[in-house]
Assembly symmetry: C2
Homo-oligomer: 198 residues x 2
């Protein structure tokens, strides 16, 4: 039986980035199918009454130590984005569009890299355009697609689906319908994919 | 050099219980000194503007799966306490008193067991008395001690100290002044105690 690792994320979530660096390897090691599911974390927060952890100064200060520790643990590059908060609505619609249009494999790593490795100001549409061009994508087409209804609907549907399944933050993974909140639960996600969940 | 694992906890925190089942073994494996630091989590929340995770229905629902998963992972007994929320002020003052008076080694495991293994109603002073007697402790003396100033002052001092160090939830560990929030960071705590933090 092939299991699926469903991975809900938002580009604005640093722990989503950290986990995203691991999920392909986890799927490969366990013979699972990986399904990345772009959702709008701001929409999830609104629906659940949750708040960004970055809003609490003490948690944010601790994360400043915790996030780079995970990056070193994973041996991946990371820097906190200096332009936070960044509104990710356009970026998440872009992910939905890229999944519909078949350009997700170029789009996805480029956005996470721009956000959490290169620390670029993705509130600035010109910066986003530069990132897209660097990934061989057409900024003009991006700008048009994210305003089309099928793209808006898809992001909204995935976000609503996440909330309906109990998601309250990012990243969140599902295996066999079981939910795992956070980058720090990936070891359990891997056990679940192996059918060895404690 | 002997390192110290400082472990801030509250009996009302299920993840504090789960982590508490591990910290002695971690200290032993790493040759570290363990310093358990009872704090009033409600006081920490008040000072930091943080809230109990149990207040968000979605997070609480997920924890109902996550907490027993950790218990199975650790091979320790666990059940959610059906009498929640429980006001832990008397219990945490009791921990401070027990540390002053030298009865902590009997008091501490008895309270965590009553709360998170036996699921007893520790809002009820008669239940607390029964638990104390079961641990060979004198409920009358407990009732008197937790009203004395040195005990109140000690709990308040530890709670204030935690907040001053950046604590916003429980459990929180420190190694060499570095903070680790959550039961799920214990693997990093162990690496830190070994001087091998990534």
């Amino acid at each position: 039986m092939t299991r699926t690792l469903e991975f809900y994320f938002d580009y604005g979530s640093p722990y989503s980035y950290l986990a995203d660096t691991q999920v392909e390897a986890i799927a490969q090691r366990t013979g699972a199918t990986l399904a990345r599911k772009p959702m709008l974390l701001g929409g999830v927060f609104k629906s659940t009454g949750n708040h960004s952890p970055a809003e609490m100064p003490q948690k944010s200060a601790w994360s400043g130590f915790d996030m780079p520790m995970w990056a070193r643990h994973y041996s991946v590059p990371f820097q906190r984005n200096p332009f936070f908060p960044i509104n990710t609505l356009a970026l998440m619609r872009g992910a939905a569009a890229a999944q519909i249009d078949g350009s997700f494999e170029r789009y996805h790593p480029a956005i996470f890299k721009a956000m959490w490795i290169d620390g670029r100001n993705l509130n600035d549409i010109k910066e986003v355009a530069a990132v897209l061009m660097g990934a061989g994508l057409d900024p003009q087409e991006f700008g048009n697609r994210i305003q089309e209804q099928d793209v808006k609907d898809r992001l909204k549907a995935t976000t609503d689906e996440a909330v309906a399944r109990g998601v309250f933050g990012a990243p969140t993974s599902f295996v066999d319908g079981r939910m795992f909140f956070g980058n720090d639960r990936l070891p359990f996600v891997e056990l679940a994919l192996k059918g060895a969940l404690p």
